[in-house]
Structure formats: C-alpha cells, structure tokens
Symmetry: C2
Subunit: 170 residues, 2 copies
C-alpha cells in the first residue's frame, strides 16, 4: 500500500510518500509546495492543487492522509486561510478517486512519538528514525506529512495483524 | 460585462449571475448548490467545485465576485470549514482564468442597502428591488451572492463614469 501524507498550508504545503508492504515501511519521497503571499489567492491555491494532482498521478497513492480538522487555531483568519488549502487537497482526492483518511494531531503524535503532546522536533527525529532517513528534513511541514503517512501504516498494520489473529483462532 | 457572485459554504453555496451593459443591470440567473453533511468532505467540495465549473462554462462570466476574507466567525472550525468551500471557488477562477474580485461584507451592504450594517432581510429586499425580481429569493445565500455581483457592477459603473468625466476635461 502506498500512502501519501499531506500537511496543507498556503505558504508551504508539506507532503511525504511511503510504501507499506509486508509490514515494512519504506520512504519514497517527500517535499514541499511553496507559494508566495505576493501571489493572488486563486493562483496560490491553483499551484498547490496542480502540484498535488501531479504528485498523485506520478506516485499513485492508495490513500491520502491529512490532519483532522481541529479548532486549535487562535485566529479564525488563519483557520480560514488554512481551510482553503485543505479544500483543494480534499478536491484532489475526489478528482483522483483516492480515499481520504484523517487523523487528529494528537493521534499522530501518539503514533510517532509515543505520546499525544510531543514537540515538533521530537516528531521530526522520530520520523527520520522510523524511515531511516540520513538527515532530518528541513521543514517540519515535511515531517508532519510523513508522520501522517506513518500513522496510517500503523493503523493498517494493526488491522492486518488482528485479521491474522482472528483467522488463526476461528 | 457578465458578473458571477458566489457565496461559498459547505451546506449551501449561493450564486447569482447579472449582466451589466450600458450602465444597466439585468438579472440572468441564480441558485444554490447544496451538499449534505452525510457526504464525505472530499465529495462535498467536489460537488461544489464541479457545479461552479459548469456554471462558469455555461454562463461565461467576465469576473467572479466573492466576499473578502474576514474573521467574523466566532468559531475557528466554522472558519476552517468555510475556507475549504472558498478554496474550491478560488480554484475555479484560476482554472477558468477568470479574475477574482473580493469585497468586504460591510462594503456590499453599503452598496446595496446604503449602510454597512443592514440586516439579511434588507439585503434580500433591496436585491430583489434592484434586479426587478418578482419575489424574494428563498435563500439569503442567493441574495448575498447577487448583492456581491451588484456591488461590483456599481464599482465598474463608477469607474466608467469617472473615465468619461476625465475624457471630457482633458
């Protein structure tokens, strides 16, 4: 199963692709899509949408994973701006017919760091460790996206193991 | 000039198309795109995006007008949800290469009702009056969208009159 994690934002959208096969996780690629605040909003959203569409066409993920909508933004304007970026990612899922999976931020941290309130740096280090990356990715947007993908692989792994267990018993 | 006003929202997106020719405003069509909260978010945004894309293809507006981003939502979650719907409308502008114009809500009310703090009902009545509609549109989402289009036509009219004035003087 190929998993694409995306951390949408107007200025810098992080993404990461991992493969999960036979209970083994492997890193495929990761990066960011950046837009400038000097660009018009329509242009910025179009760039993000087009980049993730191309990425999905090229890497053919089985699922796209994003963070669950959560009101942890103090300013409604920030939430509104972020929502726009999130909207065009959701649209990629619909247009490419790829299931969209959402995890709460605390769930992701728990999966990757072991507890719900890990720091950004802890997430970064654990993601690099889990995926055997040579160095820490520059942006936390990238590690956040990879952390989302890792969380989903754990979920799938757990489901598969439960299935095997059940098959043995009955 | 053909103007498409859109009031994006997940549950009910209002739209209205008007023509502005020789300083005369005429109503073309208006309606809503509805989605159900039982649908997945990707599906809902896809429906809104596809409907406005079809509308833009069919009516060929010269501009699309939406409300300016403003933090008047008490709950960041509401802002986040709304932002997603707004994002896919912005995307239509980029994909169809139609300029996107934004007006603050107070500006729209001032243009249509005459003051910045008019009620929804006042906006509804004034829109129906300005466009010679037989009856009040059922949803305020529709009148809000039409009010945005009307505001832009006033702006264009004003610019044109100023241009004529300048041409006379010099």
């Amino acid at each position: 199963m190929r998993i694409l994690g995306v951390d949408p934002a107007l200025t810098r959208t992080g993404y990461g692709v991992v493969d999960f096969k036979k209970n083994k996780l492997s890193f495929l690629e990761a990066g960011v899509v950046t837009t400038s605040s000097r660009q018009a909003i329509a242009e910025r959203l179009d760039k993000i949408h087009a980049a993730v569409m191309r990425l999905a066409s090229r890497t053919k993920p089985d699922v796209i994973v994003i963070e669950k909508l959560f009101a942890h933004y103090r300013h409604p304007t920030t939430a509104y701006l972020l929502g726009q970026a999130r909207g065009v990612i959701c649209l990629v899922c619909a247009e490419k017919n790829i299931p969209l999976i959402e995890y709460a931020a605390t769930r992701v941290k728990k999966a990757v760091v072991g507890r719900g309130l890990g720091s950004k740096l802890q997430v970064q280090r654990m993601v690099a460790n889990i995926l055997n990356l040579n160095k820490l990715p520059k942006y936390t947007d990238v590690t956040d996206a990879l952390a989302l993908a890792i969380t989903h692989s754990y979920d799938v792994g757990l489901r598969e193991r439960k299935l095997n267990f059940n098959q043995k018993v009955y």
